[in-house]
Structure formats: structure tokens, C-alpha cells
């Protein structure tokens, strides 16, 4: 194991991206992700990479569309308002099957909001903030280590399925420092991309496009996409269960919040409360079956979705639980982050646990 280095989450993404072979970044400044472009602006040139500060988020995502279409590993990053601006481009990218990594270091919204950590872009990432029928693979790291690991994973999944991947992080994970064991460059997979638009070079035309004028053709293409999505759901689900074995109450929580919940779990056990945590690492695909299984278990009396929003992921939890057990929400929003104690207190309140 390589020795650990103390890094900010944003920087860990940058370093891991380069290790994963990414040499193309297109982005536009916004807090709280600015350390990522700053890191890449500094290090890309040393590795013959391309760092372009685009004129806007809209331009950046369309540069990614062009670049990813040539088969190189490419990424962009932004934070909430900037990600909203990218929605048209993301919809195009999903439709045209351009592999790429899109990082959202989520901040408090709606509107300009603030620069504190939030998880209120869940719907946008998971249900589709852009128009039309499509899905993104959505990865949710919960430590600086995972910021690095999921970056590598993201590029891999993007190439494997020819699909855009979003990393849904937040202001805390982006800005905090923790020790990281950087991924090994030798473990990086490479993929053939015979579809890339790099000049025809004697073969027939390659085309990156999202127009299908005849509805039946469009439907066929969407069916193709959804077959791929079904594969991804089957193969790529990631989640972690913590103290769920005998749990009477299960929190579902991701990202920075899951860490707070973990501490709350420990505190709960000290008080004799059987509290567990299910942490999705992939938000799409969502751990529907694992939650459904827990819902069917006799121990479990109820679920609590703990999120930094007014309640977004809770809909997916409810869909998974499907009425078998009560599902409650503990959410803080607008950039407010609860303490472990506050989480526990609210779990107890919601289920009248003494």
C-alpha cells in the first residue's frame, strides 16, 4: 500500500483522475470545487494534459461532449448552479453515449443559495435534471479516500458502458482534508473505442449524435439505452451495511451524512438502541433490493432517510420499502449539517424510542 497523503477531497479527485489516465479537463470556476481545477491547472501541463477554463459551464459541458466523443478520458466539475446549466449538455451526452465523468460538489440551494454542503441535487442527478428519458450512473463518495477511488471507478464505468457518470459529492467532502492512499496507475483498465470521432482514417463515418427524427428510431435508441441501464443495475450496484444485522431501525444515508450517521449508530448502541445504517455508494443504481430485504426482515421496525435536503432520496427508499414498514425523514437543508447527536435524537423522536 502506498503511504497516505493528506489531501483535500477536491484535490484527491484531480490526482486520481490523472492516475486514471484522464488528460482532458474542461470546467468553469465555482465554489466549493475550485481546488479541483486549480490542482489540474497546475498538474495537467506537467503530464501533457489539457486543462481548459471554459467561458461558462454550458461551454464546458459541450467541450466534454466533443472531447469524450473522440474517445479520450475527459471530465468536468462544478457545483449546483453550474450543474443546472449543464443539463442540456448532459442530456445530449447521455443520448449520444459519450463517456465522461461529471463531478458535482453540491452546495446549498435552490438559487444562488450558499457554499455550504448539501445533498439537495439528488433528484437532479438521479431522476434526470435534463430533458428526456435517460439515466446517469451516480456515485456517492463519503470520504476523501472514496473521492479518489470513485474517480477511478467513474472513468471505468463510463468507458465500460459508454455512458456519463456523475460523482455527487458535497461542499464538505470537497473541502475537507483526510489521508488518502492514492490508486495504483497499474490497475487502470483501458477500453477500445471504435466509435470515436478522430477522423475516418479509411473506415466509414463515425458519428456522435443525439438526433433521431423518426419517433420509432428514437424509441429504438432509447430502448437500447435502457437495456444498457438494466445491465448497469444488475452489475454495478454498490452499498455498505453497518450494524444492520440485528437492527430495529435502519437509517439510509449517503455521502458526508452517512459518516455522521455512523457515529450516531455507535452512540445509539451505547444507549441500547439497535440502530443500523445502509449507505448507498451508487445512488443510481439505487440499492433497492437490499433495502427491500431489510424491509422484509422481522427485526426492522422502520427506516429513516437522513439527508441534507427536504427529502429527496426518501422517495427511492419508500419505493424500495413499498409500504412494508414506515419510512421517516430526518433532513436538514440549506447547508446546515446535523451533528451525530442531533441525528440520534431525531431518530428517537421519529420512532418514539425512549
Amino acid at each position: 500500500m502506498a503511504s497516505k497523503v493528506l489531501m483535500k477531497g477536491n484535490e484527491a479527485i484531480g490526482e486520481a483522475a490523472m492516475i486514471a489516465g484522464c488528460r482532458h479537463y474542461f470546467g468553469y470556476p465555482i465554489t466549493p470545487q475550485s481546488e479541483l481545477p486549480a490542482y489540474l491547472a497546475k498538474h495537467m501541463p506537467k503530464r501533457d494534459g489539457v486543462f481548459v477554463q471554459a467561458e461558462s459551464e454550458v461551454a464546458a459541458i459541450n467541450m466534454v461532449y466533443g472531447s469524450g466523443g473522440t474517445g479520450v478520458r475527459v471530465m468536468t466539475s462544478s457545483s449546483s448552479p453550474g450543474i443546472s446549466l449543464k443539463q442540456e449538455g448532459i442530456s445530449y451526452i447521455a443520448c449520444a453515449e459519450v463517456p465522461c465523468l461529471i463531478v458535482n460538489v453540491v452546495r446549498g440551494g435552490p438559487g444562488l443559495g450558499n457554499i455550504a454542503p448539501a445533498q439537495s441535487d439528488y433528484f437532479q442527478a438521479v431522476k434526470g435534471g435534463g430533458h428526456g428519458d435517460y439515466k446517469l450512473i451516480v456515485l456517492s463518495p463519503s470520504s476523501v479516500q472514496e473521492m479518489a477511488d470513485f474517480t477511478v471507478l467513474g472513468f471505468d464505468l463510463a468507458d465500460k458502458y459508454r455512458t456519463p457518470v456523475m460523482m455527487l459529492s458535497d461542499g464538505y467532502l470537497g473541502q475537507m482534508m483526510e489521508p488518502v492512499a492514492l490508486p495504483e496507475a497499474t490497475n487502470i483498465k483501458k477500453y477500445d473505442k471504435p466509435w470515436a470521432t478522430i477522423g475516418a482514417r479509411g473506415r466509414g463515418q463515425n458519428l456522435i449524435s443525439s438526433i433521431h427524427l423518426v419517433p420509432e428510431d428514437m424509441e429504438k435508441h432509447i430502448e437500447h439505452l435502457y437495456k444498457k441501464y438494466a445491465e448497469i443495475e444488475k452489475n454495478e450496484l454498490l452499498y455498505e451495511e453497518y450494524q444492520c444485522g440485528d437492527a430495529e431501525y435502519v437509517m439510509v444515508s449517503y455521502g458526508i451524512t452517512a459518516r455522521i450517521c455512523k457515529t450516531a449508530c455507535v452512540m445509539a448502541r451505547e444507549q441500547g438502541i439497535k440502530l443500523g445504517l445502509l449507505r448507498p455508494k451508487t445512488l443510481w443504481p439505487f440499492p433497492k433490493m437490499p433495502i427491500s430485504k431489510l424491509a422484509q426482515s422481522k427485526n426492522v421496525k422502520g427506516f429513516i432517510s437522513v439527508e441534507l435536503s427536504t427529502g429527496q432520496m426518501i422517495e427511492d427508499v419508500r419505493l424500495a420499502v413499498n409500504g412494508l414498514k414506515p419510512v421517516e425523514l430526518f433532513g436538514r437543508t440549506g447547508g446546515v449539517v446535523p451533528t451525530p447527536n442531533e441525528v440520534l435524537t431525531n431518530v428517537k423522536r421519529l420512532f418514539s424510542i425512549k
Binding site: 482532458h24 461551454a59 461532449y65 473522440t70 449538455g89 478522430i198 477522423g199
Partner: protein
Amino acid sequence: MKDKAKILEEVKTMKKVATRPKCLSDRTFHYCPGCTHGVVHRLVAETIDELAIQEKTIGVAPVGCSVFAYWYFNTDFSQAAHGRAPAVATGIKRSVPGSVVFTYQGDGDLAAIGTAEIIHAANRGEKITVIFINNAIYGMTGGQMAPTSLINQKTQTSPYGRDSETMGYPIRVSEMLSGFEGVKYLSRVAVDTPANIVKAKAAIKKAFQTQLEGKGFSMVEVLSICPTDWGMNVPDSKKWLQENMIPYYPLKEFKAPKAEDAKGGE
């Protein structure tokens, strides 16, 4: 029929002086009768043939009547979002530096929604070639006012004529871009007459050559007609272009690598 056979016999001994460029597919253009998109397609294709760059060219067509350009050009292609072709082209060129990348954009596309993208690609001196079709209207969506629509021009969204007081003035894109140092070739041409079409071809070729030589950003603005949305037949359309567009949008080579070496452009 008999005639046809006779001619086919006669030409066997003659020299073919003009025929479909190799770089174009056999597909019939979907454009309206008389629409000059077809002419410009042909000029670009001839250029690609002559420079022998078909195998390393990647075209970028955003939305507009020419969104299906990829049906016609036998090169790799990327279909871009409305207005974003210069950004897409930037992404491509930065990833495949040895390639030749051109965008093919309408005036609604380039001068309205895509204003920021064209300006910044030009300013960065991206080594791409932009074919800019100025037909003073939005074609594909059925004839709305473009930033280049002339004063008093009637369109779907300026039914009483473009009024400078509330809708502003027609934007002279080439003039606006000519000030940027990253722009190395820039010319405005028209495709109304055979003579102007010959000049247009020369300009397009110079633009591609500028890219091939790695100099910087190149663009050709092509004054074009849209008989359908102008609501005129083809002869009247050409006359309208000559009498109204050319005076406001003078034909001119704004910048060329040679001149630039000497004086830094106009």
C-alpha cells in the same frame, strides 16, 4: 431518352470539369428548392477533396437546417447542441490535435444562443474552421428573426418588421470578431452568383489552410438565401441578398495569415 444516350456517348471523349465531390455522399440534400446550404456544402466538400484531408476531418453541425450535414459529408461528424459547435469543436481539436475540425453554423445558432462560444473560441485562437451561414433568419424553426435580420425585415417574430428601437440592430459578426488576435483568417463572401461562388470557394480553402498550418482560428461568413422563410422565389431571393444584405454586410477579406504577419490584421 435518346438525347440522354447521345450525350452520354459524346462526353466519353470529353473532360469532366465539374462533378459531385468525392467527399459528399450520394444522398439528395433535404434543403428547400434553391437553398444555398447545398452550394456551401459542395464548396466545403471540394475543399476537403482538394486538400486531401477527408480521412482526418471531423465536422461539427449544431441545430439548424444543416443539422443533418452528417448525412452528406463522408467524414467523421459530431452533431452539436444549438449554438455550442465552437465548444464541441474545441473539445475535439484539443483531444485530436492532428485533425481538421470545422463547424457549420447558422446565424441564429452562431450569433444568438452561441454568441459566447464563438467569441471565446475565436479569442482562444482555437485551430478550427467555422463556416458561418448568414441567411438573416432562423430557417429550421420556420422563420424567426435572427440577430442578423435586417432593419424592417419581416419575420415570424418581427411581423411588423425589425425595429431597431426594441430589437436592436443587425449584428455584423465578422466585424465583431476581426478585433480578436486569435482570429487568423476571416472573410465574408456570398453565394449568389457564379463569380461570388468562386470567391467563396477560395475563402473556404484559405480558411482550412489556415487551420492546417496551425495558425489559429479561421472563419468564413457566407451570405446565403432562405427562399422559404423569406417568402420569395429564388431569383427574388438573390436580388434581395444583393440589394439589402451585401450593402449592410460588405464582402471583404478581414484577415488573412499573410496580411497578419505584416500588420496584425485589420
